[in-house]
């Protein structure tokens, strides 16, 4: 096999593996969410199916696929089916843009460990993450149910409002890194705290941009419709919001979209603000591991990628836990509070932060 063939096969395998990994994160998060919520509320939680209840998501899947395929008589047939798919696909497309580890060497070439190897990663992430709003709005409208309609409307207004704060706080990081390429933004944060030789910031961006980090985190919660921003599906006022009329696997697709979006946002926070796969003393650890397994040539990049991937996963795991814990700790906002926070607090703060960053970067 020529090097090109090896590289092509590796790229295709990579794409399928990353998709399957994304799909499998969903049941893991579901069981974690249910066990952690039980733990927060002094309950036991699901513990019957398999050891420690670990097979519960499998039982859920069996239940999902054996449910009746239901649609209200007055719902629009096409759009009713399109809603869940348009909600589940965009988070996976976002996931495709995000590098999961430093690139490895295979077939004599560098293979980026993201599905799509592009310099415009952040731009695509911002563009694609807002596409989920179509799925929710279409699903809510097509159900011909007043709760669904209100849920769909609320989610559209909420997601577009918080997307501004999300984009503008990420722009402050772009100004520091001078790039929208996600691997380059990670490379810029190679030290824990410190400056590069040319006087530019080379530490984790959370220390240079604490405000942008907090804004991005809050907007990330709102973008994924998680508590305290779960107004679109507020069960105590809107029954189920946009998915009131959905059941079975169509409901499962909405669910999958939400959890993969959580994963993607956690990855983005780790990459933009927490140094991605860098951690204090990473060079020493990688040297030690390379010596331990006696790696040479291309194998060195494989060891580096593995360690980097584990470091990134640790950070992502922390944020996923935070997402779950906050859901079971905080009460929900009122709708006017939500819009006030988005437009009157987050947007002006993000703009001011960006201009301040711009002033510092352009004058130094």
């Amino acid at each position: 096999m020529s090097n090109d063939t090896v590289y092509l096969i590796a790229s295709l395998v990579k794409a399928v593996v990353i998709f399957l990994a994304g799909v499998h994160v969903v049941p893991i998060l579901v069981i974690l969410e249910r066990r952690i919520s039980a733990w927060v509320q002094f309950r036991i939680g699901p513990n019957r199916v398999g050891p420690l209840g670990l097979f519960q998501p499998l039982a859920d899947l069996v239940k999902f696929i054996s449910k009746e395929d239901f649609r209200p008589a007055t719902a629009s047939p096409m759009l009713f089916g399109l809603g869940p798919i348009l909600t589940a696909l965009p988070p996976f497309l976002v996931l495709a843009m995000i590098p999961l580890a430093p690139s490895i060497e295979i077939g004599g070439r560098q293979l980026a460990l993201s599905v799509v190897d592009t310099d415009l990663g952040l731009l695509f992430v911002v563009a694609l993450s807002s596409l989920s709003v179509y799925g929710l709005a279409i699903g809510g409208w097509s159900s011909d149910n007043k709760y669904s309609l209100l849920g769909g409307l609320r989610s559209s207004a909420q997601m577009v409002s918080y997307e501004l704060a999300l984009g503008l706080s990420a722009l402050a990081v772009v100004a520091i890194a001078g790039s929208v390429s996600l691997p380059e933004i990670v490379a810029q944060q190679s030290q824990f705290i410190g400056f590069a030789e040319n006087g530019r910031w080379a530490g984790w961006n959370v220390f240079a941009q604490p405000l942008a980090f907090i804004l991005f985190l809050i907007a990330g919660f709102a973008e994924t419709n998680r508590l305290p921003f779960d107004l679109p599906e507020a069960e105590s006022e809107l029954v189920g919001g946009y998915h009131t009329e959905y059941g079975g696997t169509k409901f499962a697709l909405f669910f999958m979209g939400e959890y993969v979006a959580m994963l993607a946002i956690s990855l983005m926070i780790s990459i933009l603000f927490l140094g991605g796969w860098h951690f204090p003393g990473d060079k020493a650890v990688i040297d030690w591991a390379v010596g331990l397994v006696g790696a040479e040539g291309a194998a060195i990049s494989w060891v580096t990628a593995l360690i980097g991937h584990l470091a990134l996963l640790a950070k992502v795991g922390f944020f996923l836990f935070l997402f779950i814990q906050i859901r079971w700790t905080l009460p929900r906002f009122r709708y006017d509070q939500l819009m006030t926070l988005g437009w009157k607090v987050l947007l002006p703060l993000a703009t001011a932060n960006l201009l301040l960053t711009g002033a510092v970067v352009s004058w130094s």
Binding site: D4, L8, S11, K14, A15, V16, I18, F19, L20, F64, I65, S66, K67, E68, D69, P72, P84, I85, L93, V115, V116, D117, T118, L123, W141, S143, D144, N145, S148, L149, L153, S156, A157, V160, E163, L164, G167, L168, L171, A172, V174, S179, V180, V239, T244, G248, T249, K250, A252, D336, M339, T340, W343, K344, P348, L354, L355, G358, S362, W363
Partner: protein, 127 residues
């Protein structure tokens, strides 16, 4: 350069094709399997929209608050601001203070617009 790209079979976006195909296949299977496996039963009331046991009055596809439109229009303005600022933020180190001041003017005009909308109560949801 052109010839080079023509011979190179793999670009950065190639793996997206199997990725999206596998994703759509999985979604389609998930949507179709219940049609085969699921139970079926018919009752007239089941197919009525669920509104907590009360019979729905009229269709849900009615007019809704104009506030949602205003938010959407404002969003388009500020989203375009963000899109314009992307190339600005990338090239900030080269364009220096002149580039910064021009962006300041640009953002200033939009900030005036936001202040106007704010004063006119577009951002208030209490009334």
């Amino acid at each position: 350069m052109l010839a080079e790209t023509a011979t190179a079979p793999i670009t950065g976006f190639t793996p997206l094709v199997p990725y999206v195909l596998v994703a759509l296949t999985v979604f389609a299977v998930l949507m179709l399997v219940p049609k085969l496996l699921g139970k079926r039963s018919y009752s007239k009331d089941k197919f009525v929209a669920y509104e907590c046991g009360v019979d729905p009055i009229g269709s849900a596809r009615q007019r809704f608050s104009v506030h949602f439109y205003l938010v959407a229009v404002l969003f388009i303005l500020f989203d375009i601001e963000a899109v314009f600022l992307f190339p600005w933020a990338i090239s900030l180190q080269e364009i220096g203070s002149a580039g910064f001041i021009s962006a300041l003017l640009f953002v200033g005009v939009l900030a005036l617009g936001l202040a106007y909308a704010w004063r006119r109560g577009v951002l208030d949801w209490n009334n």
